[in-house]
Symmetry: C2
Subunit: 323 residues, 2 copies
């Protein structure tokens, strides 16, 4: 009899669920709106219902499922399976998500935070495949990530490791970060911060082809900036360079700390493509000492939006193999 594993990616907007076999081949997937504002009980109902529909619609039963992985925004206690609080999941305060889902589905459930789950997905079948030491960065509203050391996720004390965007690289006079610190990488290089740096300068009158975009749309997006940079606007180029520089320094610092073989960037911003990747590599090579220049592979994630369901299913599979 084949064995199947469910991966559940609980996000602020949608719940995504995938059904995978032992080779992590996707057999079926589905999604439903989270409606986090209606509270945890409602979300658990929705997870149960969506799972059962997914199985029914694809000729599976719960008996086919060995175990379940679920990823959620944090902060969370991984070891206890509890969502402590999550800006993207209002109403979730100390919710024992692992236990609740396990009771509903009557299956063993593995719990992980969303960034670590996506990191694990990329590690097992995506851009990190074949390495044992990897660091994963997500470039979105913030900069999060995960660390794999010798084939294991690094959780740290109280599961607070891998807040990678909050490494300080400009302590003196650096930009304020949403976290309360100053000079964090996230304050320069997240998609939101990249857009904010450009918007502030345009508002202050800096000449740029982005000025028209701002007048028309009332905002400037990260996508606009990379497009105008590619089209030769020197101010837009300066902003994208600032982003790539912060990420290049982040790579230098991380190689000196956990010593990864490969660094994988994910998240909406990687849609900027080769110019962003080349920029990060350029600044990495500029800042790193010569001996280590050749020793880090820097690349983009390959699993896209499925990283969460693949990663959580892969964690469920990994756990069942180690039992």
């Amino acid at each position: 009899m084949s064995k199947f594993f469910l991966g559940i990616d609980l996000g602020g907007t949608n719940i995504k669920i995938g059904c995978f076999d032992e080779n992590l081949k996707l057999h079926a997937k589905s999604s439903a709106p989270t409606h986090a504002e209606m509270g945890p009980e409602n979300v658990i109902d929705s997870i149960e219902q969506t799972t059962k529909e997914l199985l029914n619609n694809n000729s599976f039963t719960l008996d086919d499922i060995v175990s379940v992985g679920i990823g959620s925004p944090g902060p969370a206690s991984i070891s206890e399976g509890i969502v402590i609080s999550a800006p993207n999941l209002p109403e979730f305060q100390n919710v024992p998500l692992r236990k609740l889902v396990s009771q509903r589905l009557q299956k063993p459930v593995i719990f992980e935070n969303d960034a670590n789950a996506a990191c694990w997905g990329e590690y097992v079948v995506g851009a990190g495949k074949g390495v044992k030491d990897m660091v994963f960065f997500t470039l979105g509203t913030g900069i999060g990530g995960g660390i794999i050391s010798n084939g294991e996720l690094v959780h740290g004390h109280k599961d607070n490791a891998a807040e990678l965007g909050h490494m300080i690289i400009y302590p003196h006079g650096g930009r304020f970060c949403g976290c309360g610190q100053r000079g964090c990488v996230e304050a320069y290089a997240s998609a939101s911060s990249t857009a904010r740096r450009a918007t502030e300068a345009i508002q202050a009158g800096t000449p740029s082809s982005l000025k028209k975009v701002y007048k028309k749309n009332g905002e400037i997006t990260c996508k606009d900036i990379f497009e105008h940079s590619a089209n030769g606007d020197s101010f837009a180029r300066e902003i994208t360079n600032g982003t790539a520089e912060a990420l290049g320094i982040l790579c230098v610092n991380i190689i000196h700390i956990t010593g990864p073989q490969r660094v994988v960037f994910a998240g909406g911003m990687i849609a900027a493509g080769k110019p962003l990747l080349d920029g990060i590599k350029k600044y990495f090579n500029h800042y790193i000492w010569p001996l280590k220049q050749e020793s880090l592979e820097i690349c983009f994630a390959t699993l896209g939006e499925d990283a969460g369901i693949i990663g959580t299913a892969a964690l469920a599979l990994h756990n069942s193999q180690n039992e």
Copy 2:
């Protein structure tokens, strides 16, 4: 029959050897000059001879010894037990130290780099006792260290993790570091860099009570600087603040990466005592986001110069238990 473990700390100046029981209680220790300039074969002879004398003089035989741990300066391949090259061990190029020592002593040998070995010693019986996630910094000529994640040393790809002093915190206009990078923590906060920053300023005419020291001794040591700082010299205070600030930022960054419960500082500079420790804590609290302010324990190492022999013996013990 009791079981004993040898810890060998191979340094640029001395070889130190200790004999420990299963509770890591020290029963005997000895040391001999390394004479690294005479080449690896001579050093191996010396290790063999010093070990045998130590055992003889203390009524042990090699039969009492289960296994041996040896720590050496790097860069090294930990997994292969090879010293690739080491500035402090001239003549050592790709020396298979683990194999050579194992052949001479006819015992299983565990190999580790010196900073990781000292880190492990502090973790098992020193300042890191009782935690599972710890980061260890040595403040000497350079800044090295080790990382314990979930009870295991982090080695990284090709064993190049934990070059902790080479985290860049002042990328723009920062001081040049011996490694070829710019703005590394080591360029500010190692004992040598602390002395160098002061010396340069005194040479340039900065007023300070350290000027007399420089005139008298032709140099300024880190010890002088901390003493004059304690005695109220404002320039010396500025220099020690710069050191503490860099180390405080290092602590902020490391808590966001591997999430340690405790950070342990070791090396000659910790002789500066409470003013240094208080300074590091002050800057950590200044730079860290408020939520994490209470979450990191910062302290000094407790094993002193024996950390190397304790750590290597503890690694030998650990390995024998895991076999």
